[in-house]
């Protein structure tokens, strides 16, 4: 992945999660994966368009997703219902939007496409075969794997 794209995603994830969840966020070491099937249980995807094509995946376990949704809604949620799904989708959107804004400032014309969310029962995410950058995020709610795959439109 182009090096200039990396920091905006890492910083956006950090800053939005901190602001929205108000708990300690830790970043694990970045690494690269060749095939990037999401595996943890709940995945939110935001597409990227413009100068590039690609997508950002937010992959997490269901328990973590429920905890995050609960924190964001200010109420204890018991299951991963439609409201919880909408909440995680919105989180994915906010993080990606902030990253894209930083990228605009750097001169890269990216655009977001509407987010989608997938859970274990309908996990039909076919992948692009493009290498992905993994940004592991750790916090008391559990871990989130942010998985970014971007290809230049030559």
């Amino acid at each position: 992945m182009r090096v200039e794209y990396i920091n905006p995603f890492v910083e956006a994830a950090f800053s939005v999660l901190k602001e929205v969840l108000r708990i300690e966020i830790k970043r694990g070491e970045l690494y690269l994966k060749s095939v990037s099937q999401p595996v943890l249980g709940v995945t939110a995807i935001v597409g990227l368009a413009g100068d590039v094509e690609g997508r950002v995946l937010f992959d997490m376990g269901e328990a973590t997703a429920i905890k995050i949704a609960s924190a964001m809604n200010g109420e204890l949620m018991k299951k991963f219902d439609d409201l919880a799904k909408a909440t995680i989708t919105e989180l994915a959107n906010m993080i990606t939007a902030q990253a894209v804004t930083k990228l605009h400032e750097l001169g890269f014309e990216f655009d977001l496409t509407p987010p989608a969310i997938f859970t274990g029962d309908n996990m039909e995410v076919t992948d692009t075969g493009i290498e992905a950058l993994i940004v592991p995020i750790e916090m008391e709610f559990g871990k989130i794997e942010i998985n970014v795959a971007i290809r230049e439109k030559n």
């Binding site: 809604n73 409201l83 919105e90 906010m94 894209v100």
Partner: protein, 146 residues
């Protein structure tokens, strides 16, 4: 999420959501995210606003506005929505009622669309993530301005 009930009675001030007449301001929330809609609803109802209706896309928003008119004081309008986006909906609502008070709700990075909306007649905008203070401030600013 703290609501009015959490605050002690000492500073009894009239809720922001009430007009001078005592009646609540009526708000239409147009957003495709259940979560954002709920957030705005919670913030506003805790201050005495009346959420008259919600809509999931610009088309639905336009129709509901026409139904509610003239008993609708404010619209919060998400920018990116399916079927009809917020900017188009804004345009059409203003065509229908040029006094309509519409606040755009946008994710970071949609500056161009926000600018366009303001030029088309939106009164204000709020950038996500939303917090109580920001939302109430902008809403009241918009309602009190003549």
């Amino acid at each position: 999420m703290k609501t009015k009930q959490d605050f002690p009675n000492i500073n009894q001030r009239p809720p922001d959501g009430r007009k001078e007449s005592g009646k609540p301001y009526r708000v239409l929330i147009v957003d495709d995210s259940m979560f954002v809609t709920k957030q705005i609803e919670q913030i506003l109802t805790s201050e005495g606003f009346d959420v008259a209706a919600t809509a999931e896309n610009g088309q639905d928003g336009l129709e509901k506005y026409k139904e509610l008119y003239p008993n609708v004081d404010l619209v919060t309008m998400d920018i990116t929505m399916p079927v009809m986006d917020g900017v188009t909906s804004l345009e059409k609502i203003i065509e229908f009622d040029k006094e309509a008070k519409i606040i755009m709700i946008s994710a970071l990075g949609k500056q161009d669309l926000v600018k366009k909306s303001l030029l088309l007649g939106a009164k204000n905008y709020i950038v996500k993530p939303l917090d109580r203070k920001k939302v109430l401030e902008r809403v009241l600013m918009t309602l009190k301005k003549q």
